[in-house]
Amino acid sequence: MNLKLKIWRQKDPKTRGKFVNYQLRDISPDSSFLEMLDVLNEQLVSMNEEPVVFDDDCREGICGACGMYINGHPHGPDTLITVCQLHMRKFKDGDTIVIEPWRARAFPIIRDLMVDRSAFDLLIQEAGYVSINTGSAPDANSIPIKKKYADLSMDAAACIGCGACVAACKNASAMLFVGAKISHLTLLPQGEVEALERVSKMVTKMDELGFGSCTNTGACEAECPKGITLTNIARLNRQYYKATF
């Protein structure tokens, strides 16, 4: 495949970035998107140019590091996958591919396609945990949990914190991420104890970090690589009202 890439290049957080065009030839349709970028970077290095900086880690679709905005979609034009699981056969020979970093005030650009997603870490640090006494491991199944709640909690726990929801949202809102964490922790008896305190703290922090608000557009749900649903946002709302009133 021959491709034209239009990639956002930005030297550091303070410098103004710009798009740079690259031509790539003979890319295998079976290579992954990140492998295609690796090929580009090897070519750039061999020409003594700076390679394109992007985040990646597991390349198995489970870590959520490889976040980039490809042709108008977080993680590219396929559904329920991260960028590393996107393959070049999803594109046509001769296509122009526009690659941008996540754009949100809460996710400042570090360099090129790499953004600082510490805001998510700060949200988890704020209250996205369950306080327990340490000691020996409790017996399995010593606390019975209804299957329905175990399933809902597990579905929400699938969130990998990649930030695609923020990137997809027209308001750069983190409601799906926070909703997933609230569902994941609150639906289980261990997490229920701190439920109300958790939700107030996380929502306050979310606003403070500069994320937008939810207008129920559904873009986050559609772009989430792990299929986290909007019902988690409604649950977050309910929990918040419970904590506030």
């Binding site: 108008g72 979609h73 949100a104 027209k170 500069g210 608000s213 409604a234």
Partner: protein, 221 residues
């Protein structure tokens, strides 16, 4: 409790409650207006309008209504500005294909509705309120002849077109707003949300058709 006025979810809650209140009001207002075309006698509408402007309870309701509208507008503006700030640099190639269509234009349709409201107030509300409309005395009671005001206005083509266009934009606003309000209230369910979405469409069609039919019928009568 105070965080309801400051947090993003709190502001959305107030907006959705005010929005649903306005949704209810639209039905009441439409019901009254339809009296103009349902009954040949203009006094039916005039009497109904008289009750609406003189009843003590409804006067209180009127204040609540303006409060609700103001709340809806003010919080919408604050949230919109915050949402714009949340993404200072736009995407070069943004593709909001997965963003529900009408949700993208809420602020734009809202602006059109506000302009419409100003014109609508000048046309009718202020006339009724400050007594520029013709007076009719029946059994010693003075009624404003608002039915004739409506007929006079809607005999003019530009008014008919402008009002119907405004109703269509109102419909665009409602089709997202109606169902979004329920989600903001925390009501989202696999089974019931599709029902609410269908209700939103039915409600929108009824409101747009109900309001639009009045100028059309008056014009061709």
């Amino acid at each position: 409790m105070s965080s309801i006025f400051t947090s993003s979810i709190g502001k959305k809650l107030l907006m959705s409650l005010a929005g649903l209140f306005l949704v209810t009001f639209l039905l009441v207002h439409m019901g009254l207006n339809l009296l103009v075309i349902i009954f040949d006698d203009p006094m039916v509408y005039n009497k109904a309008a008289h009750i609406m402007s003189s009843n003590f309870l409804i006067k209180i309701f009127e204040i609540v209504l303006f409060g609700g509208l103001l709340l809806h507008v003010i919080y919408a503006l604050i949230l919109q500005v915050q949402n714009w700030i949340a993404r200072p640099k736009r995407y070069n190639k943004a593709n909001y294909a997965n963003t529900s269509f009408f949700s993208k234009f809420m602020i734009h349709t809202a602006a059109i509705i506000l302009v419409f409201l100003v014109i609508h107030f000048v046309d009718f509300y202020f006339k009724a309120k400050f007594g520029h409309a013709a007076e009719i005395h029946v059994d010693g009671v003075m009624y404003h002849d608002l039915a004739s005001e409506i007929v006079d206005k809607f005999k003019m083509m530009p008014f008919v077109v402008f009002y119907i266009a405004a109703f269509i934009f109102l419909g665009f606003h409602l089709i997202h707003g109606f169902q979004s309000a329920f989600k903001t209230l925390g009501l989202d369910h696999k089974k019931y949300t599709p029902v609410i979405q269908v209700l939103a469409i039915i409600y929108t069609v009824v409101v747009v058709a109900g309001y639009s039919i009045i100028p059309v019928i008056v014009y061709f009568q």
